[in-house]
Every structure is written in C-alpha cells, then in structure tokens.
C-alpha cells in the first residue's frame, strides 16, 4: 500500500495466468499513468524439480526427462545431455550422427524462431503476421515429424548417437520444405523491417547497449542484437559445427527491431547450413554403444539453443545414475537484463519487450526475484566503476 503522501503508484500484475503469457510467470509493473516505473519478476511456477529427479533415474531414462525440460527446444537439451554423457564416457558419436543432430538442432531453431515471430506479433497486436508465421511453422514441424516421428519432443538422440537416419527421400522433402520456408522468411524479414505500423512498436523500444548486455550477461540473439559476439556455434563449435561453420549474425542497434532482424537473419544461416549438411552427409554408423555405468568425472557442456546459451553441468560418480546435474537455460540470463529495460517504457511496450527475449519459463524452471527500483539499479556497475572497484580490492589486498 502506498503511503498517504507518497505519489500514488499503480501496480499492474502480469501472470502467472495472463493472456500475454503462454507459460506461467509473474511480473509486476508499477506504472505512473502509462509509463512503467519499476518492474518485478517472480518465476518458478513451472518448477518441477528436474535436477533432483535426474539424480534418481538411470542415464538412459534421464535423456527423456531432460528432453521434457522445454517443449520448444527439446532437442537442444537432450543434445547437451548426450554430449555431456559422451564426454564423461570418453566416447564420441559417429560423424553421421553428429551431422543429423545438427540438422535437427537447426530445424528446431527454425521452428523456435517462427514460433517466436508469431508470439511477438501477437503481443504487438498484429494477428495476421501471427497467423501466417504459425501456418508456415507447420511446415517445419511436419519436416521434423517426417524425420523423427514426432512434432515436438523429437527423441532423435540416443546416448552415443541418433535414432533416425536421413535417407535420400527425407533429404529431398527437407530441401523442398526449406525452399518454401526461405521464401517465407524473406517475406517476414521484409514485413518486420518495413511495415510502418509494426515498426512503431519495435523501433527504438527496449534498447540495450552493448555494454549493458555484457554486464548483465545477456545471451543468444538478444545479446547479438546488441552487438555482443556471443554464439557458441562459432566460439566453441560442438557436434557438426566444426565441420560446417556458421556465420554470426550481429546487429548494433540493440532495440526490438534488431532482435527481430537478428533472429530472422539467423534463419538464413540455418537454411544454408542444413542444405550444406544434407549435401555432404558423412557416411557411417548412427550410434555407438555406451556402457550403462558412466565413469566418474564431471563435465560442462554449453550449446547454443535457439534462445541463447544452455549450460549443462553433469557429475558422475561411476554409478548408473548421475551424481549431480545442473541446467542453466538462456531465459534466466536474458530475463534479468531485459526486465530492467522495461522501466521507463510505456506499459503497451512491456509485452513486446518481454517477448523480445523469447522467454521460456518452463525451460527456466526456477524462480527469479529481481526487484528493480530506482535505488537498486544503481547497484549495476559500469565498466569504469567496476575497474575502480577492482583497484580498491587490489589495494585492500596489498597488491
């Protein structure tokens, strides 16, 4: 309750159940008229205790548990887990399996980005773009279904390889689908960068500078739209990205429009990469066998999910179950940064800013509380302050 002589603040709660959010999350925005003066997040409504559950299941069973962390980027989670387990077991999946994993990962990226265009268009109130982008998303989902037998939760991975092969007919249907999708992507890129009513809602909104993005630890397309070079496919190539490199898509503007453009331009890279892999699919086995007990050790795997960097820490004690499994998803990194950007914007822009990072709360699987009042935001240090802080620390240590 506001104090009697304090200016009356108006708090708008968004979520856990709200039409703008397809997943549960709770946001509180204090508004002054239409302008947001503070923002507050609380997540974790989709917390399922997966990290604990994983300690009680066998290595193989976990693969499917992990795949269900997120419905959109299910493959990348399973892939990260597989790579971690293979790492621990000192096995490498055969090159053909790696290539197929990469194809599925890129198809998933296309699927995720198309979904995201639709969601953000919906937040912006552009229903037609929403409907058309989701219509076209069906194409990539059908491709994935044809390839793996399921539209979501593809279960393409096995510990040590993949389940499904890509034969000539599959490759042809994927190529055909990609041609259509590429044409559509070109069209959507035109729409989001030239439609004047849409640009009114994206241009100059939610600007995050490169320095801010770096300090607050943004990842994925959100960071790249602010010209932060952070793409693990380039920095630390995994699976088949070593043999088939990708280009990093960067933008300097850092606003919503840049985030849109980065994501769509990334799709062209995906199309190109998938075609390239299909043309030069390495021959060989699909999977190698892994022991049921994984040797003791610990490993960290970081992959570039459609939304940004996923991080997996897996520790084995040599048993048939993991000792500790830790997942960190991209949303948690981006949410803390972007929620601060909402302050000072119109309430109408907030759903767009939220959607701009492509939040995934079930992925996130944890709860954040970032109270961002005006005092608190001063806790954020600029590089200069940080440098000074560092010098002070060195001094106090007599160095």
């Amino acid at each position: 309750m506001p104090e009697s002589n304090a200016p009356i603040r108006f708090t708008i709660p968004i979520g856990p159940q709200h039409p703008a959010l397809k997943e549960p999350g709770h946001f509180q925005f204090t508004v002054d008229g239409e302008v947001v003066t503070s923002a507050y997040v609380r997540l974790g409504y989709a917390h399922r205790g997966i990290e604990k559950a994983a300690e009680q299941r066998s290595w193989i069973q976990n693969l499917y548990l992990i795949e269900r962390i997120c419905g959109i980027c299910s493959h990348i989670h399973a892939l990260a887990y597989c790579l971690a387990v293979e790492n621990l077991a000192h096995v490498e999946a055969p090159p053909r399996a790696q290539a197929i994993r990469t194809v599925v990962a890129e198809l998933e990226r296309i699927h995720s980005h198309f979904l995201w265009i639709g969601v953000s268009a919906h937040e912006a109130g552009f229903e037609t773009l929403f409907m058309y982008s989701w219509r076209d998303r069906e194409t990539v989902m059908d491709l994935l279904e044809g390839l793996t037998g399921n539209r979501v939760n593809y279960s393409a991975n096995l510990l040590g390889g993949v389940k499904f092969d890509i034969d000539q007919a599959q490759a042809d249907s994927i190529r055909k689908g990609l041609d259509f999708l590429e044409e559509r992507t070109r069209h959507y890129l035109d729409v989001i960068s030239h439609d004047s009513t849409f640009l009114q809602r994206t241009r100059g909104i939610g600007v995050m500078t490169s320095a801010q993005a770096e300090v607050m630890g943004a990842v994925g397309p959100t960071a790249r739209a602010s010209n932060v070079k952070r793409d693990l496919r380039v920095e630390a190539p995994y699976a088949a990205y070593k043999a088939f490199p990708v280009q990093m898509v960067l933008d300097t503007r850092g606003d919503l429009e840049a985030r849109f453009e980065v994501r769509l331009k990334e799709l062209f890279e995906s199309f190109r990469l998938i075609r390239q892999i299909l043309d030069a699919l390495p021959e060989g086995e699909l999977a190698v066998r892994l022991p049921r007990r994984i040797p003791a050790g610990e490993t960290v795997v970081r992959l570039e999910a459609p939304r940004g960097e996923v991080y997996y820490f897996v520790k084995s004690a040599g048993a048939d179950k993991p000792e500790r499994l830790k997942v960190r998803t991209p949303t948690i990194c981006n949410l803390t940064s972007v929620i601060r950007l909402a302050v000072g914007h119109q309430l109408a822009d907030v759903p767009m800013i939220l959607a701009g990072i492509d939040p995934c709360f079930s992925c996130n699987d944890r709860m954040v509380q970032v109270r961002d009042t005006k005092n608190d935001s001063q806790k954020l240090m600029t590089w200069e302050q940080l440098r000074q802080h560092g010098i002070d620390f060195y001094r106090s240590n007599g160095k």
Partner: protein, 160 residues
C-alpha cells in the same frame, strides 16, 4: 583472444593469489582453481571480471554426501570456449560463501538458488526471500542435499 591466451591470462590473474589457490588443468580448455581461503573468492572474481573474463555461466552446488561432510560450490566462468571453474569447499552444516552479486548482478539468482537448494548461507546477499520453492516448503529442508528424501514431503503435502 584464442583459447590458449585466455587460459594464460586467467592463470596469470590467479597466480597473484597463489597462497590461497591451487590450479589444475583437467582439460585443455579448462582451468580449475581450488580456492582455499573463502575471503579471497570475491577479489579473484573481480580480478577476472576486470580482464573481461567474468562472464558468469552458472554457480553449481554439489553435496559431497554425509561421509565427506562437505559441500562444493563451483563458479563457472566461460569466456569464449574456455571454462574457468573456481571451486570452493564449505562444511555441510552452516556453510557460508560470500556473495558475488555486488560484482556480477546476475549472480544473485544463482546464489539464491544455491541457498535454497543446499542451505549454504550467502553473506552479503540483499534479497533472501524464497526463490523457487513454494511458500509452504518446510524450513531447513534442502532438496538437493543427498540426504533429502522426497517421500518425507508427503507429510507436509496436506498442509495446504
């Protein structure tokens, strides 16, 4: 900066605390730093951060079990494809680590999760409200500890 340069740079920074740390290379792109003196943790982090090696990927807590009677906290910094792991050991009961949130804002989330899941106290954390466990979660029960038994929860399930 390539992998080798980053590793060398990081090692150079950590060397300044050689009385408090122990460095090892489990993998070519990984640098493990065992921090033996807790109060040196934040200065080391600042040292890394100033050289732009301070992209904090995650903070991982590991319960080493009742026999070891210790918990391990891992701070993973991931500049490029390098992994710098600061490892800290704390006692299983009343373990305490300093907060990094003054230096790295995004650390707050990870630290609160750490506190919630392992019962490790974080000194200097501004906000210690419940993080991702429900409000009705019993006090002093830390789900990621090895001796936590999920079945014990059924006793509390009827409360709300």
């Amino acid at each position: 900066m390539n992998t080798q340069e980053i590793i060398t740079l990081a090692e150079g920074i950590v060397q300044q605390w050689d009385w408090a740390t122990e460095v090892s290379h489990p993998r070519p792109n990984q640098l493990d730093v065992h921090v033996k003196l807790l109060k040196e943790l934040v200065p080391i982090v600042v040292g890394l951060r100033v050289k732009r090696l301070g992209y904090l990927c995650a903070i991982v807590g590991i319960d080493l079990g009742p026999e070891a009677n210790e918990m391990e906290v891992l701070y993973h910094f991931c500049p490029g494809d390098v992994l710098i792991a600061l490892r800290v050991r704390v006692p299983r009961q009343d373990g305490t680590v300093p907060s990094l949130s003054e230096v790295i804002p995004s650390a707050e989330v990870f630290e609160r999760e750490l506190h919630e899941m392992f019962g490790i106290e974080i000194t200097g954390l501004r906000n210690t409200e419940r993080l991702y466990l429900p409000e009705s979660w019993p006090e002093g029960l830390y789900p990621l500890c090895k001796d936590f038994n999920p079945a014990s929860l059924t006793d509390h399930a009827g409360e709300n």
